[in-house]
Amino acid sequence: MGNKKFDCVVIGAGLAGMSAAITVAQAGKKVLLMDQHNLPGGCASSFVRGRFEFDASLHEYCGLGKPGDWGLPGKIMMEEHGLDIDWLWIPEMYRAIGTTRSGKHFDITLPTGVENVIKKMEEIVPGSEEPMRTFMALAKECVDANDYFSQHMSTVKKDGMLKTDDVYFLTHFSNFLKVAERPFNEVMRNIGMPEDAIDILDVYWTYIGADYSKMSFVHQAWMFYMYAQYEPTINRSNAHGLTMRIINRFRELGGELWLNTTALKVCADKEGNITGVLTDAGMVETNYVIANVNPEIAYNKLLDENVKVPEREYKRVNAEKHGIRFFNAYVACNKSIEELGIKDYTIFMPGSFDNAKNIADSKSYEDNTHSVVVIYNVINPDASPEGTCVMTFTICYTEDVWGDFTQREYAHKKEELFRKVMDNFEKDTGIIIHDCIEEIELATPWTFSHFLNTPEGTTYGYMVDDKDTMLSRLMAIRKDQPIKGFKTCGAAGARGDGYNMTYTNGNDIGKIILEEMEG
């Protein structure tokens, strides 16, 4: 029999769980990482159909940075955790095809490089150069402020919120303080951004799903700047390859991984001190548990009754709104990108660039055909066998639209939707794929609910809006984790969604649990 006693148990081997596990293991602790599935990774996974392997979810990694100049997530993965990953940088932000609220039709491609983006925007929408300069300067300040903030998260005030160095922020990041929490579109207008340009900047919506007339400036600004400055990134051996490299590192640090293992209860003694985790592979002793689990599932199902969950935590999870969920079409064509005339990695095809309209449409099945496609072979020649290519189309929903379908109509609804999406794609780009599809798999919120077990099949945790902002969550990162010896991490955590954010959040939570261990 092997050992069943660990310094720390991490439940859920998603990106945040894996990152937390490495962070704790790196401090010399004995860590057990477990996952309900027979392979680790959560969303960071892949699947095989015929001669193709599809990346389940990595469309583009934001904010990694470059060797020697890593962004915050890159710094954690590459320097702190010492991962060995073959990144590929995408030298283009995106192509977008659609009509702005003014009725103008655009088919534009934004390059990377801050100066290039500014010049390009001026070319597309004359008069946007100056406001673009202001935007990028403010965005840069947001990135710096965010980095500084992230590196100073250990002092807590009486009310449980993080203590920030107000004087430092006032002298270094006063613009950040003024605009960070203002709604994105409002800030754009106030710095004189032309309306067509605002629409074009809002096009990233399909991947965000938030209301840009409410969502904080810092959210979009950080992302836009990181993409422009550091380029979007993917990994040569897809998301599962990324996961295997993370797991490999975790094992090097002495970590143990149990798969197909479900945590049934996080157990505690009568005083509420965490004593272990009951799993379907037996009881495991530990005093510290990190759960890469949605907090409402953790509080309602995972924690044993001896653990006193503060009332505020129930209130908190009841106050949160479930975030967005996706329809994904994984398509393999038996023609190469050259044969098909494909040049762009990311193409947004929202039809309309009107953010308000897109949000309204995202609450219905019929009206929502606003898609984005990524075509892996443009950047990664190894993405599929020679003479073929693989791509993923994505549609975002803000409500449980798919929950209404019957079992019988479900498959038809998937096919019908993708026919519309493919038709739009072919009309918008002139690229014809319907006659060369060799493998195709359509995933809906049902699929994500099945594999991830998240409420409504959401993949992004909780929705951000004008009150529940990313910064407010981050300020409360410790206050929102009041149970000694038990913490949650993941997309429903303080930093929100995305590979970069969940990985960083896992690192934050790993450090917090280490502090508790040290007393």
């Binding site: 392979l39 303080l177 592979a281 129930y314 079992q407 049902w446």
Partner: protein
């Protein structure tokens, strides 16, 4: 700090910033404090579609021919069986002598029948077929049977396949094709299908009545041609094997997809025939091959390993086992015999459910059933259902909850 002049923002906006966390806190404090027990439509539908397990009671046993029986199943809890795509299978999980044995079994009913509470599976007794022989001898009406949810990707996809399908089938491989015919008749699938069904003789033809009913219901969309290999001159039947020539004859001028479902020898024969047809690879689709029976006949197999029995060290979570593993059986079969097999489904190397880590030792993996992910090959993971030990091994397997 950026040198930016923000005309419309002043110091009071800093207050706006500092107030945000307070606004969030107010939102939290105003929310109800009850323990949520919310259920979500999407999650419920997904759980119905993809149940981890279905517990059935045998409603009826239907004898087809010598050694072939259909078991009509109803859910024990009275709910409907999971809806499926015609062509899918379920994994039967049966305890024999205290050891859990699992095998994929095709569904021979149509998806519509699940809405009336039933699902049929058809089992053929195979020589040395451990589970099929057990089922034949033991399963009777009223018995409890446990299966997985519907699995597999051998089904029609209108986005990929041609509107016309020529289905080549042999023996009991007809079951997924019958299910497709029924799905066309019930309107759950929309394509036309000509079935070339190979049997030795008329007596061995399965499901003649059920096919007739499906053909009638499908209103011209389904045709059936029996191809007899050991009987000649039977009216309405072809004789011989399913050749390229025969496929061409029944395909006609339309473009078509070729679906194949049958024993391994049929695929080997058909692969060569298909080469003669001018068929795009994407339009030739086969049901799971199953596990290779004689790995030593394949190129690359280390001849000295044949007939040997190796020592298999197995780590499973906190436990460790040492079991024997014969060269002529898959590693999964060795685990099953020892009563420690974990999750598995397709038994043909494709689905990846039994994915395990090879810690040390050598294995032989036939290329035809190597459905591993790229990074798994790189990091030494194997699918035990399609891997053969060629030395003593140490592996780490998923929990067998």
């Amino acid at each position: 700090m950026a040198k930016v002049k923000l005309k419309k923002y002043g110091f009071k906006d800093i207050m706006y910033f500092t107030n945000k966390p307070k606004e969030r806190e107010a939102l939290i404090q105003n929310a109800p404090s009850y323990k949520t027990s919310a259920t979500f439509k999407c999650n419920e539908k997904a759980a119905e579609r993809h149940p981890a397990e279905q517990v059935f009671v045998i409603d009826k046993v239907i004898e087809r021919t010598e050694g072939v029986k259909t078991y009509r199943l109803r859910k024990k809890d009275g709910t409907n069986p999971a809806f499926f795509r015609a062509g899918q299978y379920v994994v039967v999980r049966q305890k024999i002598d205290g050891k859990l044995i699992a095998r994929p079994v095709s569904i021979s009913s149509g998806p519509e029948e699940t809405l009336n509470g039933t699902m049929d599976i058809t089992v053929k007794a195979v020589k040395d077929g451990f589970l099929s022989l057990y089922i034949m001898e033991n399963w009777k009406e009223g018995d409890e049977v446990v299966t997985s949810g519907p699995q597999g990707v051998f089904y029609y996809d209108g986005l990929r396949d041609q509107k016309k399908v020529v289905a080549c089938s042999g023996g009991s491989g007809i079951t997924p094709i019958l299910s497709m015919a029924k799905a066309i008749a019930s309107g759950d699938e929309d394509f036309s299908m000509t079935v070339l069904y190979g049997s030795k003789n008329q007596k061995e033809i399965l499901f003649a009545d059920e096919f007739a009913a499906a053909i009638e219901g499908a209103e011209g969309k389904v045709k059936l041609v029996n191809v007899l290999s050991e009987e000649e001159g039977v009216e309405g039947c072809e004789s011989g094997f399913i050749t390229a020539e025969l496929i061409r004859k029944y395909a006609g001028d339309e473009e078509y997809s070729l679906f194949a479902s049958g024993p391994q020898v049929m695929y080997e024969f058909l692969d060569k025939e298909v080469e003669k047809l001018d068929l795009d690879t994407r339009h030739y689709r086969k049901e799971i091959f199953g596990s290779v029976k004689q790995p030593w006949t394949l190129p690359g197999y280390p001849a000295e390993a044949k007939d040997k029995t190796f020592n298999l060290k197995v780590r499973m979570c906190a436990e460790e086992f040492e079991i024997p593993c014969a060269a002529n059986e898959t590693i999964l079969v060795a685990l099953e015999r020892a009563g420690i097999a974990g999750p598995n489904r397709c038994r043909g190397g494709i689905c990846g459910w039994c994915r395990s880590r090879l810690i040390s030792g050598e294995v032989f993996i036939p290329e035809i059933t190597d459905g591993r992910r790229g990074a798994d090959k790189e990091f030494g993971y194997i699918h035990p259902c399609a891997s053969f030990a060629t030395s003593d091994l140490e592996i780490e397997v998923p929990n067998n909850k």
